[in-house]
């Protein structure tokens, strides 16, 4: 491309989309590179009929080995693993879930929108592990407000310190009788429960809420099917001067020049892009002066259906019971204070749902007996899922696999991510507490377990290019700029030094907004 843009952004999901929105609203021209196509998501996400599917719904073999969320009915929406391979150590699988199209994973996200608090930003102060964020909650509060407003987040403000109140559309829906009983049982243990906070609106996505306004401003050049290969550097100044990319379909090589580069391609893709941007000056990856790039990778672990229970009075209602229904969110209650005695650091939260019908795997027997039992339990289920904080560790790392390339010849990642005793003990504690709470609420517990899903499956991968006050142990400063190259920013989940147990998208939106506006401000002053 012949011209030089003020800013080039890689990725159009929550991070990249928000950066594009913020900069264009301030009148700055941007070029946005998106690896996938621009599609009509409403049309594409309609599930196809089973008779139209070559494998009749069982899935194309080996296309989505690690994307448990994908099925043959909607596999047109996910990034396939044959074109986009990666590796992990034998016996330690990592589940990397990707979507490559305009809007990124915000086209399919669960809309859960939670704030972190200083319990998370300054976690090291409480237990001495890891590093604090180089910012505090007050630095981000204003940006959370704006992200929540843009995404029409609905929920309840309940004054819970570890879950700060926000600019929310009120959720005044009643809790079902079963949920009320569960909430009362939890309250006896001083455990706080609130309603889920979710972005509302049709397709609460970057595709629908951020990119249209950016396009309408006339300041955005959106380039789709642009698979980023490398961030390029001016050999004289050492500054980032653009991004080279491959056209997904023609496989032709292009370069877009820019005065500043923002990476918002996702935790692992931005890390990969920097690792692949090697030169004599940066042989281990761009701005990777101390070998921290790719390290301190973490996510949030899930224990799906940690407890499956039954609400007894909803039995035999044939789904017509008004006893069950609705969802809730159990806020973190472990290690809120110094000196709590638990066999693990940090804490976990739960999502719970009532009113579902239990999976047949929980029912004893087969045949007619099982069908009768299932019919009896229709809408009588109550289940919880644990979401726990994973500690960022140096040993958990994404690096380049020299023997593996994607369909465009770009070197792929090798991801090493193992859960440790801390996560295992936390998961077991969550099983025990959930089991006890259900029994105290008068529910029948069908089964409980503490088996975490493999790392990555929660799709909350974070870290790898973390922020920090010390350039020796971090890649980015408090404004998401690389310590070594200030006109290169990374604004996605890779910048997290730690992540709490809350779903990270709202924090990514707030951080990207903050970083982009700061960049615009400094560029206008000529300071970058």
């Amino acid at each position: 491309m012949a011209r030089t843009f003020p800013v080039v952004i890689v990725g159009s999901g929550a991070a990249g989309g928000m950066a594009a929105w913020a900069l264009t609203q301030l009148g700055m021209e941007c070029c946005l590179l998106e690896a996938g196509p621009l599609i009509d998501i409403d049309k594409q996400r309609e599930l196809r009929a089973v008779f139209d599917l070559p494998f009749r719904g069982f899935g194309t073999p080996e296309r989505f080995l690690h994307v448990v969320q994908a099925s043959e009915f909607d596999e047109n929406l996910w990034a396939g693993e044959k074109e986009n391979p990666y590796s992990y150590p034998p016996g330690d699988p990592y589940y990397w879930v990707r979507i490559r199209m305009a809007g990124g994973r915000t086209t399919r996200w669960g809309r859960a929108s939670w704030r972190l608090s200083d319990l998370d930003f300054q976690a090291k102060d409480l237990d001495g592990f890891g590093e604090n964020w180089p910012l505090k909650y007050d630095d981000l509060a204003h940006f959370y407000d704006r992200a929540e407003t843009l995404f029409s987040v609905q929920g309840r403000n309940e004054g819970i310190p570890q879950l700060p109140d926000g600019k929310l559309l009120p959720d005044e829906s009643p809790d079902s009788p079963a949920n009320q009983r569960f909430i009362a049982a939890a309250a006896k243990r001083d455990i706080r429960i609130t309603k889920p906070r979710r972005a509302t609106g049709t397709l609460a996505s970057s595709l629908n809420l951020l990119l249209p306004a950016a396009v309408e401003s006339g300041k955005l050049k959106l380039v789709t099917n642009a698979v980023a290969r490398e961030v390029t550097i001016d050999p004289v100044s050492g500054r980032a001067n653009g991004v080279s990319f491959v056209d997904r379909r023609s496989r032709r090589e292009f370069h877009v020049a820019a005065e500043a580069v923002i990476l918002g391609a996702s935790t692992l893709e931005s890390t990969r892009l920097l690792l692949n941007s090697k030169s004599t000056r940066w042989p281990e990856g761009l701005a990777n002066a101390r070998g921290t790039l790719g390290r301190y990778l973490f996510d949030q672990f899930y224990v799906k259906s940690v407890v499956q229970a039954i609400v007894p009075e909803a039995r035999a209602s044939r789904g017509q019971s008004r006893v069950t229904g609705g969802a809730g969110y159990i806020c973190r209650f472990r290690n809120l204070r110094r000196n709590e005695k638990h066999p693990f650091l940090r804490g976990y939260v739960y999502d719970f749902n009532s009113g579902s019908t239990p999976n047949p795997k929980y029912i004893r027997g087969v045949g007619e007996g099982m069908l009768r039992e299932l019919s009896d339990l229709q809408s009588a289920g109550f289940s919880l899922t644990t979401m726990g904080e994973v500690l960022p560790r140096y040993e958990n790392v994404a690096s380049i696999n020299p023997n593996l390339r994607d369909a465009w010849g770009i070197p792929s990642l090798h991801v090493v991510h193992r859960y440790t005793d801390n996560e295992h003990k936390m998961a077991e504690d969550s099983r025990q507490v959930a089991d006890e709470l259900c029994r105290e609420a008068g529910f029948e517990v069908l089964e409980s377990h503490a088996q975490m899903v493999p790392p990555g499956e929660s799709i909350h991968e974070l870290g790898g290019c973390r922020m920090g006050g010390d350039p020796k142990t971090s890649m980015l400063n408090r404004w998401n700029q690389c310590h070594e190259i200030p006109n290169l920013l990374v604004v996605d989940g890779s910048c997290f030094p730690s992540g709490g147990a809350q779903n990270p998208t709202l924090t990514i939106l707030a951080l990207s907004l903050r970083a982009a506006e700061h960049l615009a401000d400094t560029m206008k002053r000529g300071d970058v």
């Binding site: 609905q154 829906s173 049709t202 380039v223 229904g325």
Partner: protein, 160 residues
Amino acid sequence: MCSAILILLLAQQPFFRQAEADAPKQPIPYSHKLHLSKGLECNACHTNADPGDSMGIPKVAACMTCHTKIKTDSPHIQELAKAAAEKREIRWKRVYQTPSYVYFSHRLHAEAGSTCESCHGAVRERDVLFKEGDISMGGCMTCHQQKKAPNDCNACHEPR
């Protein structure tokens, strides 16, 4: 490309006039306004069979309970009568359809106090029906929020 995304996204907005222009052309002209003005109610033709999720689209036989005597000289009614005689149904075009990954119960909503107009718009004033009610996820969630109904995922989607 930029203009393409703008067109695509603008097209998702419920622009009234566009929706009216996009009204599906029915195989036989039918006026909801005319029929409702004669004293019929919606559920006279659209029955809500158990378990109550769907409102039915009337069969030709239902039309013929009245039209064996009413307006029999109209060519359109004669077309209807011919279909009835041949035991053939008319392929009415659906105006509203929820996606396959959503479950929705008309009965539950009616019991909660919603009216047909809540989702389908001013049917009594329309000769030709078009998708003027917003049944997108945003439309549903906005209404649920205003009416203090749950917006939890499992209110409309099966938990996976």
